[in-house]
Symmetry: C2
Amino acid sequence: MPHPLFEKHKAVLDAAVEAIHARGFWTPFPETPSPKVYGETAHEDGKRAVEACFGADFVLDQPGQSGWVATERSPYGVELGVRYPVCSTDALIKAAQAAQPGWQKIGAEGRVGVCVEMLTRLNQRSFELAHAVMLTTGQGWMMAFQAGGPHAQDRGLEAVAYAWDEMSRVPAEAIWEKPQGKNPPLKMKKHFEIVGRGVALVVGCGTFPTWNTYPGLFAALATGNPVIVKPHSNAVLPAAITVRILREVLTEQGLDANLVSLAVVEKRTDTQALATHPAVKSIDFTGSNVFGQWLIDNARQAQVYAELAGVNNVVIESTDAYKAMLRNLAFTLSLYSGQMCTTTQAIIVPAGGIETDQGHKSFDEVATDLAAAIDKFLSDVNVAAAVLGAIQSDATLDRIDEAGQHGRVVLASKKIAHPDFPQAEVRTPVLLTCDAADEKSYMEERFGPIAFVVKAADADAALALSERIVSEHGALTVGLYSTRTEVIDAMTEATWRAGVALSINLTGGVFVNQSAAYSDYHGVGMNPAANASYADSAFVANRFRVVQRRYHVE
Amino acid sequence: MPHPLFEKHKAVLDAAVEAIHARGFWTPFPETPSPKVYGETAHEDGKRAVEACFGADFVLDQPGQSGWVATERSPYGVELGVRYPVCSTDALIKAAQAAQPGWQKIGAEGRVGVCVEMLTRLNQRSFELAHAVMLTTGQGWMMAFQAGGPHAQDRGLEAVAYAWDEMSRVPAEAIWEKPQGKNPPLKMKKHFEIVGRGVALVVGCGTFPTWNTYPGLFAALATGNPVIVKPHSNAVLPAAITVRILREVLTEQGLDANLVSLAVVEKRTDTQALATHPAVKSIDFTGSNVFGQWLIDNARQAQVYAELAGVNNVVIESTDAYKAMLRNLAFTLSLYSGQMCTTTQAIIVPAGGIETDQGHKSFDEVATDLAAAIDKFLSDVNVAAAVLGAIQSDATLDRIDEAGQHGRVVLASKKIAHPDFPQAEVRTPVLLTCDAADEKSYMEERFGPIAFVVKAADADAALALSERIVSEHGALTVGLYSTRTEVIDAMTEATWRAGVALSINLTGGVFVNQSAAYSDYHGVGMNPAANASYADSAFVANRFRVVQRRYHVE
């Protein structure tokens, strides 16, 4: 008899698997924060649920708890003061291991059924999650809702769909019957058990605490592994709410809630001890190159799926929609103050300028016009505050302050007073120009609203520079503007060599820094910015093994 | 238009994919060396083709050749003297990289079509390959034919089937159309290119130069990668014949033959330099723990798929077919003188003995009866020579000679004069008993015809010991003999925890050391003996990436 939650969610699962194969648009989680979809009181309920956490203990009932700790500071200046349980790493790991056999026992169908139930519950709580994401990360409200809610749930469901797609092709049992000429055949019965590889650790980042956490979390869960979520110290609340909802679902299903737990770790050495624990068999990490590389070098007992820093870039060779191109780039550079791992940092333009539908534009004109487009787009303070959000970390504020030394400033960053949050640190992008030879300036990630218009000798040099940046420093996204087929073909082949996703001539409502679940492979997993992709079969296939047994039958 | 070789082999590919999902018996490559199947002159032709290589240059027409080298010594005492090209590693890598784009260009269909064509050609040359395998490895003729020919081809086709199964679910292109309420939808066209991760290195072993090479070779090829085959210095010929056939097929297809090349490397430091070359992105290795671990520790730029040593074991708790059990074990221990990575080394028996259909048998009786069964099975010199083959390496001869110091000898190894090859080193198995506490004796791999009957306190202790051996030292196979359901269940759960394939109550024509392509997962990839399995989706999914591009369409 199939698991009841598998039956309940089978239609969604089938559609999700169809979506990852067809890669068109699809989602079961509406991205519009509409009362008609989420309920008349959903917005208020979500806000109140988050506010109820302020200054209080966030009870999770996890083993090995020794105390409480509050670690968050809101970029919007809101006093949070949520206190999270501090638990012994060993206790969490032991409890996770104890929970694994029961999770294995319900089989692939049971696991994916429970996972979709979890995602459905998360979806119902999207407003609560959105408020938590907004207040901890500094994202604007709409992005916090969409990227922190439905889009993150989409990436989780996508991982479940990949896991199911792989696991469903392993039969539970088989009869193997080998002819023996005139003698009776050899006949065996074989059983195939899908076994998770062991405790999974998912290390979240400070900017997208759900979107970058759900893929690894649900990929690991669906394939049979217990998961310990270690959130960024400044974005614990969205992870804590998520873990609580997942633990509730597990308890309702008669499963061990300790299959999923939250590790709020105060010291980096404690995170390191957790990551290198022999029981930890996989680590999903989003964050800095320094700690990511430390994990890859030191957590040798685990498969590490790492999304690190890169230098995303766009080549402008020519365009037949100059203004629309500038608007598109202005939005990309402004969205969440460039605090996305997919935001463009280097815009490479030939020294001789470009041909456009508005006539020839010199290199300097392109830079100046882009600056003007950003300025215009952010001229309305309400638009600016909504799009920019707040600066998440002091390190990013410092980078903005010292950006001027790395090139010629075409557009200076401005501090904007947020209409609703007077203490929020809101900053407009800084745009600089520099020469391709000034590699020190633009060829390392400067996370935040800092972008360079880089002068390349010519179009060929621009393409070659883009490819080299990706190969040597990594990138999650590259873009190209060109009206010439041969340039588009050359750039396409360069991205195959370098291993990066390419957006061509974006002039409308899609932006190079956005990627859509079920359709866009986020990251490729082939250049230094990431060794895995959201999502593909490689993202799930190595998280489980098949253990067989066989015996003779008549 | 589909690739002609895809069309030609589509039925076989479809059947192979069906087989890996159903996991019953299937093969397109007959294992019987019958003239009716392979042709009346096939045996003679194959033998002559191999003999024609003796004392001659084996021309491969590879780049960067600096000379010739002969490295093989036949365990049968036959003078081989085949001289292989010595080529510069850098030249082979550069040529491999140059060949990759053309291989990518024919797409997944083209690649799997060409791969099945290659396997079909290899199958037609099975007698030639069998003679080469027999003379270089010391395998008996029948095993050399079956394991070195059709069964190896099966494992190669299985890898192609897995690769095709994964790649065929990535669409070449898609239309993504996202509704925008009352506004026109956002509409994009997306292209998805499957790109191999880069040069693959396949390092062969001295005992199964085709069976252990074809899975990695064909998994890497099918997923879009050029392959350099680095055979064991004593088993070059089967790999060289394979590479020559593959290069012929590539040339016929107008593809770059340097997509597949042979690296005959004289010094270990040269192999190390090759393995750690930045361009090498995957390594398939079968062999010693020392070099395997060196690769895992040092070839950090590559995915390493390693099959290493282990301590395969069988627990005898009880049986209702005592004599058949002993016959089955006798065959397992004798086949190819135990020089299989799957051969049982430790047979764990309770100190109090076992219940059987022949009454109670004490620990000592089990050991003595097993010794007698081996002795009886090998009493006919023709059977013995055919089953045992010859000892492949001096190191194995040394291990046999000094085995007596590791326990009480129940059956001593005997040297047998081979009826056809007077210089062959043929040895019967040595069987020892020891106590479970004598871990130094039996708890490291003693490759070759050396087995221990290990005395455990009781059945529970026997199961626990088996699990600990697998978890700590690794194993590719474990077996159990028991008439009690609760013991079978307990052992089953132990194998889920330890991650090892289990054979239960084998008393007929299937042996614990045999695994069948498309049905048995060879190795699990979850214990120290191997980090990958032949084959599962994890074996192929990480060998390619999907690189996308997208643009607006009306």
